[in-house]
């Protein structure tokens, strides 16, 4: 898994609540059987004026000038500032893949949908929960200052503004450890293979029907 330690980059404000995964990456792009290449279709319906098709070159498509990521001042943004319940909807991991492929390394919001939040960590993308008031303040500062950058320090669990102000955030110890070291979840779990086998042996006694094979 991709490591995350510290990152500094341009912040872009996406000022709407309940941004769902259909909005982050519309379904026609889920047909890909690969993990990479979703970046050009991130926020496709908001970003372009036409309907996007899979395997299409996006370079010539008409951009929606009102969409925030199309404004030159946010080019190359790496931190997405968002509103409550970001990432609601489907479990598609294509959503964090698309954000990552576009170049985002962190998303800051007052709240996230559970599955999306979880999926981010598996892909080296850091979801950060700050209070509503703090997120509000960041929105105001980003919009008022062109070239506004935020630093995200996972080790110290803080977001640092250009003026040096720091906002602390919470993150699970296990997830933090995995991200900082770029650890592979499956490898870690397989270290406990004996415990899994012991569980199976015990459970097979209690509920043998759960071990009947799914067969043809």
């Amino acid at each position: 898994m991709k490591k995350f330690t510290q990152y500094t980059g341009i912040a872009a404000p996406l000022d709407r609540a309940n941004v769902d995964t259909d909005m982050i990456i519309p379904k026609q792009f889920l047909k890909s059987i690969k993990r990479a290449g979703f970046g050009p279709n991130l926020f496709d319906e908001l970003r372009y004026l036409d309907e996007g098709q899979p395997d299409q070159d996006c370079a010539g498509r008409p951009l929606n000038p009102d969409f925030v990521l199309n404004q030159p001042r946010y080019a190359g943004a790496g931190v997405l500032l968002a509103r409550e319940n970001f990432g609601c909807g489907s479990s598609r991991e294509h959503a964090p893949w698309a954000l990552d492929d576009y170049g985002f390394r962190a998303v800051i919001a007052p709240s996230f949908a559970d599955i999306f939040y979880n999926n981010c960590f598996k892909n080296g993308l850091l979801p950060i929960i700050l209070s509503e008031a703090q997120v509000d303040q960041l929105f105001k500062e980003v919009e008022a200052n062109e070239g506004y950058q935020l630093t995200v320090d996972l080790e110290r669990q803080v977001v640092v503004t250009p003026s040096g102000e720091e906002f602390a955030f919470e993150v699970d110890a296990f997830r933090k450890h995995c991200l900082l070291n770029g650890l592979d979840d499956i490898g870690l779990t397989l270290q406990h293979a004996d415990e899994i086998k012991a569980y199976e042996a015990r459970r097979r006694q209690e509920a043998p029907w759960l071990f009947d094979a799914i067969h043809n």
Binding site: P26, S91, K122, I186, I196, E206
Partner: protein
């Protein structure tokens, strides 16, 4: 010590290892796979040279991309090349790894969340995962079931476990008697309207109360299906005799003595009397009317006799902006009557409402009537091949066709429009599915979520009507 909730019991029974930092390893009894969220997981396994831990705990079926029109020509006939590759990739992966798959033209194929319980793959007291957020559906049987991402699909394939953190316990209790014409779908839409799309975030929601008890297991599935639309990954209903009877004779359920042994254990799958919930929401069944969503989030919902909200009266700014944006996208006016919304298409299907009882409810409304001439299309898409066969045995297909609805092959279809069934820009659709997000049913499409009976009534009228009035005619 306080008693345990149903969720606590399921969690404890599947705990393989508790880590000090609060994360845990839980055992997964069943995984269902479909073509959209599995290819990268299989690829990951291969790249790492790993083998599945327990092949026979998995079942696969293609559903999202499959055409619902005549398809006896097989996968090679899928017109969209990208869809075709995805379905073929699932077939190849299952063949390679030896996973049981109900392929596209198998009579048991269908939407994952319809097929799992129908086959007895989902069982009370089991843990069920699938790379699909509506896996919450299976909680209707007292199973701990939730959606996972593709990395986790790979993790479960490789280890039969999931790294998880215990959720909070939330109880939504619906007491009283539901009025005629008010269905499980109306109950869950009403609940989402009350608690909001993030109301259950971080929680496992148990649905209880006399109104839930009186629902059939299929109705309970509709409720748990949409737990995720209230932000909760997990929805649950306690086990009772209806649950247990449902599994008698299902292909993958235990049989004979083994069934009786299992059934005895399943009886304990209820929250203890003295269990403590972190949050409780109480709702009176009598207050629930047939519901219609007007906006672009399932919480944007009102009763059919209501009006579209006015942003001027929203209270706070973020809410008012949200309403304005939704009105614009949906092409609606503030304060407009719901019954004045004209429809272009009707979709009856999806893992929320494509089971036999849903089809019966819709057929009852359209029987002897005709679809409005102003409608471009009205689709009925059964949830599985077995549901389709059952409906045909009951003659429902003929009722639909006679009334002017199209009778299709099973799949997800217009629920998310990954196959050719979709809305055109600006079209309004009365849909029995679960998400009314922008573009969900097609680019620029406008979705209104309703029950099967309400969708059927809307198909006849060409606009929304209170199905209770139509039932009296």
């Amino acid at each position: 010590m306080a008693g345990k909730t149903l969720y606590d019991k399921l969690w404890d029974a599947h705990l393989v290892r508790q880590n000090e930092d609060g994360s845990a390893l839980i055992y997964i009894d069943r995984q269902i796979l479909h073509e959209v969220t599995s290819p990268q997981a299989f690829e990951g396994l291969r790249l790492a040279g790993r083998k599945p831990w327990r092949i026979d705990a998995n079942l696969a079926t293609p559903d999202h991309n499959v055409p619902t029109t005549e398809r006896s020509g097989g996968v090679d006939q899928i017109v969209d090349p990208v869809s075709r590759i995805q379905v073929k990739t699932l077939d190849a992966n299952c063949d390679d790894f030896g996973i049981v798959e109900f392929k596209m033209n198998d009579s048991r194929q269908g939407i994952v969340h319809v097929v799992g319980p129908e086959q007895g793959m989902t069982l009370p007291g089991s843990t069920v995962v699938c790379g699909d957020s509506h896996t919450s559906t299976h909680g209707a049987f007292g199973a701990l079931a939730h959606g996972i991402g593709t990395s986790e699909v790979e993790h479960v394939l490789a280890t039969q476990c999931l790294i998880a953190k215990k959720m909070k316990n939330m109880l939504v209790r619906v007491d009283g008697e539901l009025g005629a014409g008010v269905t499980a779908k109306d109950v869950v839409l009403h609940i989402i309207g009350v608690i909001g799309t993030a109301g259950g975030t971080g929680c496992a929601i148990e649905f209880g109360g006399s109104a839930i008890r009186s629902l059939s297991v299929e109705g309970r599935m509709t409720i748990c299906n949409m737990a995720i639309e209230a932000g909760a990954r997990v929805g649950l209903v306690a086990v009772d005799d209806k649950t247990i009877d449902y599994f008698r004779g299902r292909p993958f359920a235990p049989q004979g003595d083994s069934f009786e042994q299992a059934a005895a254990a399943w009886k304990d799958l209820v929250s203890d009397e003295d269990a403590v919930f972190d949050r409780v929401v109480e709702i009176r069944a009598e207050e629930i009317k047939p519901q219609v969503t007007w906006g672009t989030s399932p919480e944007m919902v009102v009763a059919v006799d209501g009006t579209v909200p006015n942003p001027e009266r929203a209270g706070d700014q973020v809410k008012a902006d949200g309403i304005r944006r939704a009105l614009k996208y949906m092409g609606l006016e503030a304060d407009q009557k719901i019954t004045d919304i004209r429809l272009d298409r009707v979709f009856i299907g999806s893992c929320t409402n494509s089971r036999i009882e849903d089809l019966r409810a819709a057929a009852e409304v359209v029987k002897g009537r005709k679809v409005a001439a102003t409608l471009k299309q009205a689709l009925v898409v059964p949830g599985s091949g077995l549901v389709k066969a059952q409906a045909e045995a009951e003659g429902l297909d003929e009722i639909f066709i006679e009334a002017g609805l199209e009778w299709r092959e099973p799949g997800c279809s217009m629920c998310l429009a990954m196959n050719p069934d979709k809305l055109g820009p600006g079209e309004h659709c009365a849909s029995t599915s679960n998400r009314n997000f922008e573009g969900r049913q097609g680019f620029g499409g406008r979705t209104h979520l309703v029950s099967p009976a309400m969708a059927a009534a809307a198909a006849i009228a060409g606009h929304f009507v209170d199905v209770r009035e139509m039932m009296n005619q």
